[in-house]
Amino acid sequence: MDYNICFAGAAGDGIKEAGVITAKIFSKLGYHSFIYQEYQSLIRGGHNASIVRVSDKKVRTHRYYYDLLICLEDYIYKIHERRVKGEVIYDAKFQCKGLAVPMTEFVREEHEPLIFRNAVAIGVLAFLFGIDFEIVKKTFFDEYRDKAEADIILARDGFEYAKDNFEKIDEVEKIGEEREVYSGNEAVAIGMLKAGLKNYYAYPMTPTSPILHFLVKRDDVIALQAESEISAIMMAIGSAYAGNKAATASSGGGFALMTESISLAGMAEIPIMVVLGQRSAPSTGMATYTAQEDLYFALNPAHGEFPLIVASPFSIEDAFLLSATLLNLSWKYQTPSILLSEKHLLESYETVEFSDIRNEEIEIVRESKGIFKRYEITDSGVSPYAVPPAIVKANSNEHDEFGITTDKAEIAEKMYAKRMRKEEMIEREVRNLEPYFIYGRGEETIVTWGSNFGAVAEVADELGFKVIVIRFLRPLIIPNIKDNSICVECNYKGLLARIIEKEKGILLKKILRWDGRPFTPDELKERIKN
């Protein structure tokens, strides 16, 4: 069983929510799901789509062609027409090919706003797939609690209408225990909490704002909205200086404002984690579309040399794991880390099982007699971490072991080298943390990073490729890759491919796109074959 279902409509039609509810209905029956959310930066009108893939096998990507399209606006049908390879359900208020459902009429009868048409559509969909209405009811209730009533009434209207007028497409049965559906942003937030996040600060920016929305509702973390990205990261630095695990997130534009502070964290050896959710650039680009254009920016975000850890998750489960890992590593090595992801991973949803990872607490000194030797020169480069009320001098200037500003050549030489020695330790540790992940078998190899893995893995399964997905980007540990292998990325120049080519002295075939859309297996297969 494998269906690719698309909800399409205008902003304000509840398209995104319809996708999530549908995935959760199937997940209650034990199925796997993946949701791709495409929307425009608009207040109303325009075009939103939520593509839900459900299957009895693990799915990590949506497909290009739809088995079912649920279309809520007439002008939107044209955008999707060429992708429809199955049935169309549409609102009878307009003319279209397929199954007309009087969605607007049902909603008007209940005196509800038009956004509730999505509930009618979900009712119809449930009937078509032979899903028991109780499951629909329970899903709405679990999602909206005491506010679910109108959705349930309208979904039932849709369900009954479909029963009287349409034939079923399938009889979907329960195949296992309920699975959990999370977005990439939620996975990042939960991962950071697992590793002991105590303070989180951010300024609104697509695609990472949902991390803040998620964390402000929890009582086990202090999450605040700052007045700018500079403030957000500096508040995180303040919290880390005071002894709490802290993080922030943004996209390219906001991350650009954070860069001076990242250099400070490197110099003052203050552990912070930054989530960089890439979207189409330069500048505002296409603000709600995905990209992998900031790789070099993330690898070299700020002035000066200092140890920095950069990693990019290849799935929503991996986003959970890597965000926890990076927060732990930042503290262990007292240096900034960047979780480099992209809109396609962060705002997509998937049925997931989170692995186990713990909060690796480091020893923190909280009192001192006189000034604490916070930057003690050690073999490893890591000095004891102390926080107030211990007398700790944190300094953006070059400093001695006590954090006192210096311009002495011999002290600067030693202190700079002490910080840089941490890089060697980080590299040794990252080698054991699965710096890259190998999937499948095949004579030929596809290399990739980030969320492309979903589409790449599926194509590799079908065509018999081995997949190497790079997780840690700094330190970068690359396995042996054969000359003329394929590299798949969402940018113009093949940013990762160029690094690999230089490091390994090989040439790669680059399959690239920079139109803001993620790869689907269907499109990728075409590109590989040609």
């Binding site: 608009l42 109303r44 704002s209 007045e227 534009g253």
Partner: protein, 297 residues
């Protein structure tokens, strides 16, 4: 430019009942389209410079989020240097987040250098285009995505920043507040503002239908109640002196303003709601005293 019937639109993508298009249209009409517009990231930018369409019939630059004050200052300096001051007014339209939060540094610099710029903040009291997150101008008690109502907190805590006070403290020649509910007053203030050489600040209250949870038909009514309760006083400063205020003949209790907005609805049930309502009433009372909004006796 004479054959252009509207300087803003038609075809903007704001919600039906959105407040700020009223302010933009009145301003551009009053200036007869003689405006170089600088627009920060925000709702207005999203709905007027969208995919495939830009509805401004005047020169327009989107200046990112935090930079409108600086960009406007640069345009003013160039026009001065080129001797082309007569070609138009440099006008900024920026939201409350761009003005009071991330852009306050460049705004302060522009004020401090006293550039010949009319800076208009359209205040819809949250980041509405990124999903209704609170700003420094969100009033206490409002529920937003980043100040959600829970068992402990009844929405936003802390006060709405006093942007009028901040602008006046910079010693710029003209500072005023206006509301989309009083278009004639707004028109007069735009006219008055451009009579002054130097930096002018106009703060315009403009309800957001979706973020505030109001009926699109009630936008003007809601904006009017903000003024009539004393929560949003209409005041005018020239060269640092308070010269005019809109007097309130029969002031209404703040509840009348709060109860018709979804963002405040919880205040009438939450254990801390009553305290917040009292706090808001106190803010209104203070405004009345501070600006002399009621005739004595």
């Amino acid at each position: 430019m004479n054959d252009i019937r509207s300087y803003f639109g038609p075809g903007h993508g704001a919600c039906p009942g959105c407040g700020f298009p009223i302010a933009v249209k009145i301003t551009l009409e009053t200036l007869e389209g003689k405006a170089f517009v600088v627009n920060s990231t925000g709702c207005l930018e999203i709905v007027s410079s969208m995919y495939g369409r830009n509805v401004w019939a005047v020169p327009y630059i989107h200046s990112l989020f935090e930079n409108a004050g600086a960009v406007a200052g640069g345009i003013d300096a160039a026009l001065k240097a080129l001797g082309r001051k007569n070609e138009g007014h440099v006008v900024v339209f920026a939201g409350d987040g761009a003005t009071a939060d991330i852009g306050i540094g460049t705004l302060s610099g522009m004020f401090d250098r006293n550039h010949d710029v009319l800076y208009i903040c359209y205040d819809n009291e949250a980041y509405q285009n990124t999903g209704n997150q609170q700003s420094g101008l969100t009033p206490p008690g409002a529920s937003t995505t980043t100040t959600p109502v829970g068992d402990l907190l009844p929405g936003k805590m802390g006060r709405k920043k006093d942007m009028i006070g901040i602008a006046v403290a910079h010693g710029i020649p003209y500072v005023a507040s206006a509301s989309i509910a009083f278009p004639n007053d707004l028109r007069r203030k735009v006219k008055r503002a451009i009579e002054f050489e130097g930096a002018k600040y106009l703060h315009v209250h403009a309800p957001c239908v979706t973020g505030w949870g109001i009926d699109g038909k009630l936008t003007v009514e809601v904006a009017r109640l903000a003024v009539e309760t004393g929560l949003y006083p209409l005041v005018e400063y020239e060269n640092g002196r308070l010269v005019r205020v809109m007097k309130l003949k029969k002031r209404k209790p703040v509840e009348e303003y709060l109860k018709i907005q979804r963002r405040f609805r919880h205040l009438f049930k939450h254990p801390l709601g009553e305290k917040i309502i009292k706090e808001l009433q106190q803010i209104a009372d203070e405004n009345v005293k501070r600006y002399g909004l009621e005739d004595e006796g």
